[in-house]
Protein backbone atom coordinates (compact mmCIF):
# COMPACT_ATOMS: atom_id res chain seq x y z
CA UNK A 1 0.00 0.00 0.00
CA UNK A 2 2.77 2.37 1.02
CA UNK A 3 4.67 1.44 -2.12
CA UNK A 4 1.73 2.33 -4.35
CA UNK A 5 1.20 5.59 -2.51
CA UNK A 6 4.86 6.43 -2.94
CA UNK A 7 4.60 5.69 -6.65
CA UNK A 8 1.54 7.92 -6.99
CA UNK A 9 3.37 10.78 -5.30
CA UNK A 10 6.39 10.29 -7.57
CA UNK A 11 4.18 10.24 -10.64
CA UNK A 12 2.34 13.41 -9.64
CA UNK A 13 5.64 15.08 -8.93
CA UNK A 14 7.01 14.11 -12.34
CA UNK A 15 3.89 15.42 -14.10
CA UNK A 16 3.94 18.75 -12.26
CA UNK A 17 7.66 19.28 -12.76
CA UNK A 18 7.29 18.40 -16.41
CA UNK A 19 4.44 20.87 -16.79
CA UNK A 20 6.52 23.55 -15.11
CA UNK A 21 9.58 22.94 -17.28
CA UNK A 22 7.60 22.78 -20.50
CA UNK A 23 5.65 25.98 -19.77
CA UNK A 24 8.87 27.73 -18.93
CA UNK A 25 10.65 26.44 -22.04
CA UNK A 26 7.71 27.31 -24.29
CA UNK A 27 7.76 30.85 -23.02
CA UNK A 28 11.49 31.41 -22.82
CA UNK A 29 12.59 29.71 -26.01
CA UNK A 30 9.89 31.26 -28.16
CA UNK A 31 10.84 34.65 -26.75
CA UNK A 32 14.47 34.08 -27.67
CA UNK A 33 13.51 32.89 -31.14
CA UNK A 34 11.83 36.25 -31.65
CA UNK A 35 14.88 38.05 -30.19
CA UNK A 36 12.90 38.96 -27.10
CA UNK A 37 13.79 38.34 -23.50
CA UNK A 38 10.52 36.84 -22.40
CA UNK A 39 8.86 37.04 -19.02
CA UNK A 40 11.07 38.92 -16.65
CA UNK A 41 9.16 39.97 -13.56
CA UNK A 42 11.32 38.06 -11.15
CA UNK A 43 15.00 38.68 -11.69
CA UNK A 44 16.22 35.09 -11.99
CA UNK A 45 15.33 34.54 -15.63
CA UNK A 46 11.62 34.56 -15.02
CA UNK A 47 11.47 31.22 -13.23
CA UNK A 48 8.23 32.13 -11.52
CA UNK A 49 6.30 32.42 -14.79
CA UNK A 50 4.44 29.09 -14.59
CA UNK A 51 3.35 29.85 -11.02
CA UNK A 52 2.13 33.29 -11.99
CA UNK A 53 0.10 31.79 -14.84
CA UNK A 54 -1.41 29.25 -12.50
CA UNK A 55 -2.28 31.85 -9.88
CA UNK A 56 -3.84 34.00 -12.56
CA UNK A 57 -6.23 31.17 -13.28
CA UNK A 58 -6.91 30.74 -9.58
CA UNK A 59 -7.77 34.40 -9.14
CA UNK A 60 -11.09 33.86 -10.92
CA UNK A 61 -13.91 31.79 -9.50
CA UNK A 62 -13.52 28.13 -10.49
CA UNK A 63 -15.75 27.34 -13.44
CA UNK A 64 -15.68 23.57 -13.06
CA UNK A 65 -18.43 21.39 -14.40
CA UNK A 66 -18.69 17.61 -14.59
CA UNK A 67 -16.83 17.31 -17.87
CA UNK A 68 -13.84 19.32 -16.72
CA UNK A 69 -13.65 17.18 -13.62
CA UNK A 70 -13.63 14.05 -15.77
CA UNK A 71 -10.98 15.64 -17.94
CA UNK A 72 -8.84 16.24 -14.89
CA UNK A 73 -9.18 12.63 -13.73
CA UNK A 74 -8.41 11.12 -17.10
CA UNK A 75 -5.43 13.42 -17.68
CA UNK A 76 -3.80 11.79 -14.67
CA UNK A 77 -5.09 8.31 -15.33
CA UNK A 78 -3.31 8.20 -18.67
CA UNK A 79 0.04 8.27 -16.88
CA UNK A 80 -0.83 5.35 -14.62
CA UNK A 81 -0.22 2.79 -17.38
CA UNK A 82 2.82 4.40 -18.95
CA UNK A 83 6.13 3.27 -17.43
CA UNK A 84 8.68 5.96 -16.61
CA UNK A 85 11.28 3.33 -15.72
CA UNK A 86 11.42 -0.44 -15.30
CA UNK A 87 9.85 -0.31 -11.83
CA UNK A 88 8.16 3.09 -11.93
CA UNK A 89 4.71 2.16 -13.25
CA UNK A 90 1.44 2.18 -11.36
CA UNK A 91 -0.57 -0.45 -13.22
CA UNK A 92 1.57 -3.00 -14.94
CA UNK A 93 -0.42 -4.62 -17.70
CA UNK A 94 0.23 -6.37 -20.98
CA UNK A 95 -1.76 -4.07 -23.26
CA UNK A 96 -0.78 -0.73 -21.78
CA UNK A 97 -0.33 0.90 -25.23
CA UNK A 98 -3.95 0.09 -26.02
CA UNK A 99 -5.13 1.64 -22.74
CA UNK A 100 -3.04 4.77 -23.28
CA UNK A 101 -4.48 5.29 -26.75
CA UNK A 102 -7.99 4.77 -25.38
CA UNK A 103 -7.37 7.37 -22.68
CA UNK A 104 -6.05 9.79 -25.28
CA UNK A 105 -9.25 9.47 -27.25
CA UNK A 106 -11.26 9.95 -24.07
CA UNK A 107 -9.39 13.17 -23.29
CA UNK A 108 -9.96 14.47 -26.81
CA UNK A 109 -13.67 13.66 -26.63
CA UNK A 110 -14.05 15.26 -23.22
CA UNK A 111 -12.24 18.32 -24.51
CA UNK A 112 -14.99 18.75 -27.08
CA UNK A 113 -17.82 18.04 -24.67
CA UNK A 114 -16.63 20.69 -22.26
CA UNK A 115 -16.99 23.18 -25.11
CA UNK A 116 -20.35 21.82 -26.21
CA UNK A 117 -22.00 23.52 -23.25
CA UNK A 118 -21.18 26.99 -24.53
CA UNK A 119 -23.99 29.26 -25.59
CA UNK A 120 -22.14 30.72 -28.56
CA UNK A 121 -22.51 29.15 -31.94
CA UNK A 122 -19.21 30.51 -33.23
CA UNK A 123 -17.15 29.09 -30.38
CA UNK A 124 -18.64 25.63 -30.80
CA UNK A 125 -17.97 25.59 -34.54
CA UNK A 126 -14.37 26.68 -34.03
CA UNK A 127 -13.69 24.20 -31.25
CA UNK A 128 -15.27 21.37 -33.22
CA UNK A 129 -13.11 22.27 -36.19
CA UNK A 130 -10.04 22.28 -34.02
CA UNK A 131 -10.79 18.90 -32.52
CA UNK A 132 -11.69 17.49 -35.92
CA UNK A 133 -8.34 18.55 -37.34
CA UNK A 134 -6.54 17.16 -34.29
CA UNK A 135 -8.30 13.83 -34.83
CA UNK A 136 -7.43 14.02 -38.50
CA UNK A 137 -3.77 14.25 -37.59
CA UNK A 138 -4.21 11.29 -35.24
CA UNK A 139 -4.79 8.98 -38.23
CA UNK A 140 -1.10 8.88 -39.25
CA UNK A 141 -0.17 8.46 -35.60
CA UNK A 142 -2.43 5.43 -35.26
CA UNK A 143 -1.13 3.94 -38.50
CA UNK A 144 2.46 4.36 -37.36
CA UNK A 145 1.72 2.88 -33.95
CA UNK A 146 0.18 -0.16 -35.61
CA UNK A 147 3.36 -0.45 -37.65
CA UNK A 148 5.44 -0.52 -34.48
CA UNK A 149 3.07 -3.04 -32.92
CA UNK A 150 3.43 -5.28 -35.97
CA UNK A 151 7.20 -5.17 -35.73
CA UNK A 152 7.42 -5.87 -32.01
CA UNK A 153 4.38 -8.15 -31.87
CA UNK A 154 3.21 -6.76 -28.53
CA UNK A 155 0.80 -4.19 -27.12
CA UNK A 156 2.68 -3.32 -23.95
CA UNK A 157 4.99 -0.36 -23.48
CA UNK A 158 7.44 -2.43 -21.44
CA UNK A 159 7.83 -5.17 -24.02
CA UNK A 160 8.28 -2.61 -26.80
CA UNK A 161 11.03 -0.89 -24.82
CA UNK A 162 12.68 -4.16 -23.91
CA UNK A 163 12.67 -5.33 -27.51
CA UNK A 164 14.70 -2.25 -28.47
CA UNK A 165 17.70 -3.28 -26.38
CA UNK A 166 19.86 -3.64 -29.47
CA UNK A 167 18.52 -1.23 -32.07
CA UNK A 168 15.90 1.49 -31.66
CA UNK A 169 12.77 1.22 -33.73
CA UNK A 170 13.63 4.45 -35.52
CA UNK A 171 16.16 2.46 -37.56
CA UNK A 172 13.47 0.08 -38.80
CA UNK A 173 10.82 2.76 -39.23
CA UNK A 174 12.38 6.15 -40.10
CA UNK A 175 9.35 7.14 -42.14
CA UNK A 176 7.04 6.31 -39.29
CA UNK A 177 9.08 8.40 -36.87
CA UNK A 178 9.13 11.36 -39.24
CA UNK A 179 5.40 11.34 -39.91
CA UNK A 180 4.56 10.93 -36.23
CA UNK A 181 6.82 13.89 -35.41
CA UNK A 182 5.13 16.01 -38.08
CA UNK A 183 1.66 15.03 -36.86
CA UNK A 184 2.57 15.92 -33.30
CA UNK A 185 3.93 19.23 -34.58
CA UNK A 186 0.67 20.09 -36.31
CA UNK A 187 -1.39 18.95 -33.33
CA UNK A 188 0.76 21.23 -31.18
CA UNK A 189 0.07 24.02 -33.64
CA UNK A 190 -3.66 23.45 -33.34
CA UNK A 191 -3.64 24.04 -29.60
CA UNK A 192 -1.79 27.39 -29.86
CA UNK A 193 -0.46 27.11 -26.36
CA UNK A 194 1.50 30.35 -26.28
CA UNK A 195 -0.09 32.77 -28.68
CA UNK A 196 -1.99 35.89 -27.80
CA UNK A 197 -3.98 38.67 -29.43
CA UNK A 198 -5.25 37.13 -32.57
CA UNK A 199 -8.65 37.00 -34.09
CA UNK A 200 -9.36 33.49 -32.86
CA UNK A 201 -9.05 34.77 -29.32
CA UNK A 202 -12.53 36.17 -29.76
CA UNK A 203 -14.13 33.16 -31.28
CA UNK A 204 -12.49 30.00 -29.98
CA UNK A 205 -12.42 28.21 -26.71
CA UNK A 206 -9.62 30.43 -25.44
CA UNK A 207 -12.24 32.94 -24.31
CA UNK A 208 -14.50 30.22 -22.99
CA UNK A 209 -14.34 29.03 -19.42
CA UNK A 210 -12.66 30.68 -16.50
CA UNK A 211 -10.67 30.00 -13.40
CA UNK A 212 -9.60 26.53 -12.52
CA UNK A 213 -11.80 24.95 -15.19
CA UNK A 214 -9.86 26.75 -17.88
CA UNK A 215 -6.58 25.75 -16.26
CA UNK A 216 -7.68 22.11 -16.42
CA UNK A 217 -8.60 22.51 -20.07
CA UNK A 218 -5.18 23.91 -20.84
CA UNK A 219 -3.54 21.18 -18.79
CA UNK A 220 -5.36 18.52 -20.75
CA UNK A 221 -4.19 20.11 -24.00
CA UNK A 222 -0.61 20.06 -22.75
CA UNK A 223 -1.18 16.52 -21.60
CA UNK A 224 -2.16 15.34 -25.08
CA UNK A 225 1.12 16.72 -26.40
CA UNK A 226 3.08 15.15 -23.52
CA UNK A 227 1.54 11.73 -24.11
CA UNK A 228 2.24 11.92 -27.83
CA UNK A 229 5.86 12.95 -27.28
CA UNK A 230 6.21 10.23 -24.63
CA UNK A 231 4.88 7.68 -27.11
CA UNK A 232 7.32 8.95 -29.70
CA UNK A 233 10.27 8.42 -27.35
CA UNK A 234 9.04 5.05 -26.15
CA UNK A 235 8.00 3.58 -29.47
CA UNK A 236 10.86 4.83 -31.63
CA UNK A 237 13.74 6.01 -29.48
CA UNK A 238 14.10 3.20 -26.98
CA UNK A 239 12.31 4.77 -24.02
CA UNK A 240 14.22 4.28 -20.77
CA UNK A 241 16.95 2.07 -22.22
CA UNK A 242 20.30 2.73 -20.59
CA UNK A 243 22.98 4.27 -22.72
CA UNK A 244 26.31 3.03 -21.37
CA UNK A 245 26.46 4.54 -17.88
CA UNK A 246 23.62 7.06 -18.27
CA UNK A 247 20.56 5.98 -16.35
CA UNK A 248 17.40 5.13 -18.26
CA UNK A 249 15.20 7.74 -16.54
CA UNK A 250 17.65 10.48 -17.45
CA UNK A 251 17.76 9.26 -21.03
CA UNK A 252 13.96 9.33 -21.20
CA UNK A 253 13.88 12.90 -19.92
CA UNK A 254 16.60 14.03 -22.32
CA UNK A 255 14.86 12.53 -25.32
CA UNK A 256 11.54 13.97 -24.21
CA UNK A 257 12.85 17.50 -23.91
CA UNK A 258 14.87 17.23 -27.10
CA UNK A 259 11.74 16.37 -29.07
CA UNK A 260 9.76 19.03 -27.24
CA UNK A 261 12.30 21.72 -28.13
CA UNK A 262 12.46 20.58 -31.76
CA UNK A 263 8.68 20.78 -32.00
CA UNK A 264 8.71 24.17 -30.32
CA UNK A 265 11.20 25.59 -32.82
CA UNK A 266 9.43 24.07 -35.80
CA UNK A 267 6.13 25.41 -34.55
CA UNK A 268 7.59 28.90 -34.52
CA UNK A 269 9.20 28.65 -37.94
CA UNK A 270 5.89 27.74 -39.59
CA UNK A 271 3.34 30.51 -39.87
CA UNK A 272 0.04 30.37 -38.12
CA UNK A 273 -2.38 28.18 -40.05
CA UNK A 274 -6.01 28.81 -39.34
CA UNK A 275 -7.29 27.67 -42.69
CA UNK A 276 -8.70 24.22 -42.02
CA UNK A 277 -8.70 23.30 -45.68
CA UNK A 278 -4.97 24.03 -45.84
CA UNK A 279 -4.43 21.82 -42.79
CA UNK A 280 -6.33 19.02 -44.51
CA UNK A 281 -4.31 19.52 -47.68
CA UNK A 282 -1.03 19.31 -45.79
CA UNK A 283 -2.13 16.12 -44.12
CA UNK A 284 -3.52 14.50 -47.26
CA UNK A 285 -0.66 15.56 -49.50
CA UNK A 286 2.39 14.90 -47.33
CA UNK A 287 1.85 13.16 -44.03
CA UNK A 288 -0.93 10.67 -44.66
CA UNK A 289 0.56 9.09 -47.85
CA UNK A 290 3.93 8.66 -46.17
CA UNK A 291 2.42 6.93 -43.16
CA UNK A 292 0.24 4.74 -45.35
CA UNK A 293 3.30 3.69 -47.36
CA UNK A 294 5.13 3.00 -44.13
CA UNK A 295 2.23 0.91 -42.81
CA UNK A 296 1.84 -1.10 -46.03
CA UNK A 297 5.56 -1.86 -46.21
CA UNK A 298 5.56 -2.93 -42.58
CA UNK A 299 2.47 -5.05 -43.10
CA UNK A 300 3.98 -6.76 -46.13
CA UNK A 301 7.13 -7.42 -44.20
CA UNK A 302 5.09 -8.82 -41.29
CA UNK A 303 3.04 -11.11 -43.55
CA UNK A 304 6.11 -12.42 -45.34
CA UNK A 305 8.03 -13.11 -42.16
CA UNK A 306 5.40 -14.37 -39.80
CA UNK A 307 2.65 -15.91 -41.91
CA UNK A 308 4.56 -17.35 -44.83
CA UNK A 309 7.77 -17.62 -42.87
CA UNK A 310 9.84 -16.57 -45.89
CA UNK A 311 12.40 -14.30 -44.28
Amino acid sequence: MVLIFKKIVYLLLVIVVNLYVCTYLANKLTAHMELRRGYRVSKAGGISLPFSRFFKYLSNEPGINFWTFMLFVFSFLIWSVSPLSASMVLIDMDSSLMVALLMLLVILTLNVSSHMLTGYNMIMIQSMRKTASVLFFMIPVFLNISGVVLINKTLGFKEIINSQYQYWNVIYQPLGFLTTLLSVLFIFKQFKLNRKSEIEAFSTDSCEGKGLGKAINRFSEYNIIFVLIYMLTVLYLGGYQNLYIVRGEVMLGLKFYLIFVIILIAERSIAKINDYKLIQRINIRYILPLSVVNFIVTLGFFIYRNIFGLI
Binding site: H32, M33, E34, L35, R36, R37, R40, I265, S269, I270
Partner: protein
Protein backbone atom coordinates in the same frame (compact mmCIF):
# COMPACT_ATOMS: atom_id res chain seq x y z
CA UNK B 1 9.72 22.84 -48.32
CA UNK B 2 13.41 23.77 -48.31
CA UNK B 3 12.41 27.19 -47.02
CA UNK B 4 10.67 25.63 -44.02
CA UNK B 5 13.87 23.81 -43.06
CA UNK B 6 15.85 27.04 -43.51
CA UNK B 7 13.38 28.93 -41.34
CA UNK B 8 13.74 26.21 -38.71
CA UNK B 9 17.47 26.82 -38.54
CA UNK B 10 17.02 30.60 -38.49
CA UNK B 11 14.70 30.24 -35.50
CA UNK B 12 17.16 27.83 -33.88
CA UNK B 13 20.06 30.23 -34.37
CA UNK B 14 18.04 33.08 -32.89
CA UNK B 15 18.00 31.27 -29.55
CA UNK B 16 21.71 31.89 -29.16
CA UNK B 17 21.62 35.50 -30.33
CA UNK B 18 21.47 38.40 -27.96
CA UNK B 19 17.90 39.52 -27.30
CA UNK B 20 17.08 42.98 -28.61
CA UNK B 21 14.79 43.90 -25.75
CA UNK B 22 15.74 47.07 -23.91
CA UNK B 23 14.75 46.64 -20.28
CA UNK B 24 13.83 50.24 -19.80
CA UNK B 25 14.64 51.52 -16.34
CA UNK B 26 18.02 49.80 -16.24
CA UNK B 27 19.03 50.05 -19.89
CA UNK B 28 18.43 53.08 -22.04
CA UNK B 29 18.71 53.88 -25.72
CA UNK B 30 20.96 56.85 -26.30
CA UNK B 31 19.09 59.59 -28.08
CA UNK B 32 20.83 60.93 -31.20
CA UNK B 33 22.04 64.47 -31.46
CA UNK B 34 19.44 66.92 -32.66
CA UNK B 35 16.54 64.99 -31.21
CA UNK B 36 13.85 67.13 -29.69
CA UNK B 37 13.19 66.71 -25.98
CA UNK B 38 12.01 69.14 -23.34
CA UNK B 39 12.66 72.87 -23.66
CA UNK B 40 15.78 73.97 -21.80
CA UNK B 41 16.83 77.50 -20.86
CA UNK B 42 20.49 78.17 -21.61
CA UNK B 43 22.86 79.84 -19.17
CA UNK B 44 25.62 82.29 -19.89
CA UNK B 45 28.74 80.28 -19.09
CA UNK B 46 30.66 83.21 -17.56
CA UNK B 47 28.09 84.89 -15.37
CA UNK B 48 25.71 81.91 -14.91
CA UNK B 49 22.78 84.15 -15.74
CA UNK B 50 19.93 83.20 -17.96
CA UNK B 51 20.39 84.32 -21.54
CA UNK B 52 16.67 84.84 -22.04
CA UNK B 53 15.63 88.49 -22.07
CA UNK B 54 11.90 87.78 -22.16
CA UNK B 55 11.16 89.15 -25.61
CA UNK B 56 8.23 86.75 -25.99
CA UNK B 57 8.88 85.55 -29.54
CA UNK B 58 8.71 81.92 -28.44
CA UNK B 59 5.34 82.58 -26.84
CA UNK B 60 4.04 83.84 -30.15
CA UNK B 61 5.57 81.02 -32.16
CA UNK B 62 4.16 78.25 -29.99
CA UNK B 63 1.24 76.60 -31.78
CA UNK B 64 -0.20 75.16 -28.58
CA UNK B 65 0.26 78.25 -26.37
CA UNK B 66 2.14 76.34 -23.72
CA UNK B 67 4.95 78.86 -23.08
CA UNK B 68 4.28 81.89 -20.90
CA UNK B 69 6.86 84.69 -20.61
CA UNK B 70 6.53 87.73 -18.35
CA UNK B 71 9.02 90.54 -17.72
CA UNK B 72 9.27 93.23 -15.06
CA UNK B 73 11.35 96.33 -14.73
CA UNK B 74 13.85 96.08 -11.90
CA UNK B 75 15.25 98.84 -9.74
CA UNK B 76 18.03 99.55 -12.21
CA UNK B 77 15.45 100.33 -14.88
CA UNK B 78 16.21 97.24 -16.96
CA UNK B 79 13.65 94.82 -18.28
CA UNK B 80 14.36 91.39 -16.80
CA UNK B 81 12.72 88.00 -17.01
CA UNK B 82 10.19 87.46 -14.25
CA UNK B 83 8.45 84.26 -15.30
CA UNK B 84 9.11 81.62 -17.92
CA UNK B 85 6.76 78.67 -17.59
CA UNK B 86 6.15 75.63 -19.76
CA UNK B 87 3.04 73.47 -19.72
CA UNK B 88 4.21 70.05 -20.85
CA UNK B 89 0.65 68.77 -20.93
CA UNK B 90 0.05 70.61 -24.17
CA UNK B 91 3.60 70.80 -25.55
CA UNK B 92 3.99 68.90 -28.83
CA UNK B 93 7.80 69.14 -29.01
CA UNK B 94 7.72 70.88 -32.38
CA UNK B 95 10.76 73.06 -31.80
CA UNK B 96 9.21 76.25 -33.19
CA UNK B 97 10.22 78.19 -30.08
CA UNK B 98 13.89 77.34 -30.65
CA UNK B 99 13.65 78.53 -34.25
CA UNK B 100 11.93 81.74 -33.18
CA UNK B 101 14.51 82.72 -30.57
CA UNK B 102 16.85 85.36 -31.97
CA UNK B 103 19.46 85.19 -29.22
CA UNK B 104 19.46 81.39 -28.97
CA UNK B 105 18.55 81.38 -25.34
CA UNK B 106 16.54 78.17 -25.48
CA UNK B 107 17.16 74.80 -27.00
CA UNK B 108 15.56 71.39 -26.96
CA UNK B 109 17.28 69.26 -24.34
CA UNK B 110 17.32 65.50 -24.22
CA UNK B 111 15.25 65.03 -21.09
CA UNK B 112 12.63 62.42 -21.82
CA UNK B 113 11.45 60.96 -18.52
CA UNK B 114 8.69 63.48 -18.14
CA UNK B 115 5.76 61.57 -16.71
CA UNK B 116 4.00 62.91 -13.67
CA UNK B 117 1.16 61.71 -11.53
CA UNK B 118 -0.66 65.02 -11.44
CA UNK B 119 -1.16 67.98 -13.74
CA UNK B 120 0.81 70.34 -11.55
CA UNK B 121 3.88 68.16 -12.07
CA UNK B 122 3.75 68.93 -15.79
CA UNK B 123 4.08 72.69 -15.30
CA UNK B 124 7.68 73.83 -15.16
CA UNK B 125 8.94 77.18 -13.99
CA UNK B 126 12.25 78.72 -15.02
CA UNK B 127 14.11 77.11 -12.12
CA UNK B 128 13.31 73.60 -13.38
CA UNK B 129 13.92 74.50 -17.01
CA UNK B 130 17.48 75.57 -16.28
CA UNK B 131 18.44 72.18 -14.82
CA UNK B 132 20.62 70.08 -17.08
CA UNK B 133 19.69 66.55 -18.07
CA UNK B 134 21.26 63.46 -16.54
CA UNK B 135 21.86 61.42 -19.69
CA UNK B 136 24.45 61.73 -22.40
CA UNK B 137 23.83 62.20 -26.06
CA UNK B 138 24.95 59.98 -28.88
CA UNK B 139 27.85 61.42 -30.84
CA UNK B 140 29.05 59.60 -33.87
Amino acid sequence: MVRLIKNFFIAFANIFRKPRTVVYPTEKIIIPEGSRGMVHLKLDLDSLDMLCDGCGRCQKACPRDCIKVRTIVDEMGREVLEEFSLDLGSCIFCGNCVDACKIRAIDMSYRYQLASSNREGLRFGKEELVKPSGTLRDFW
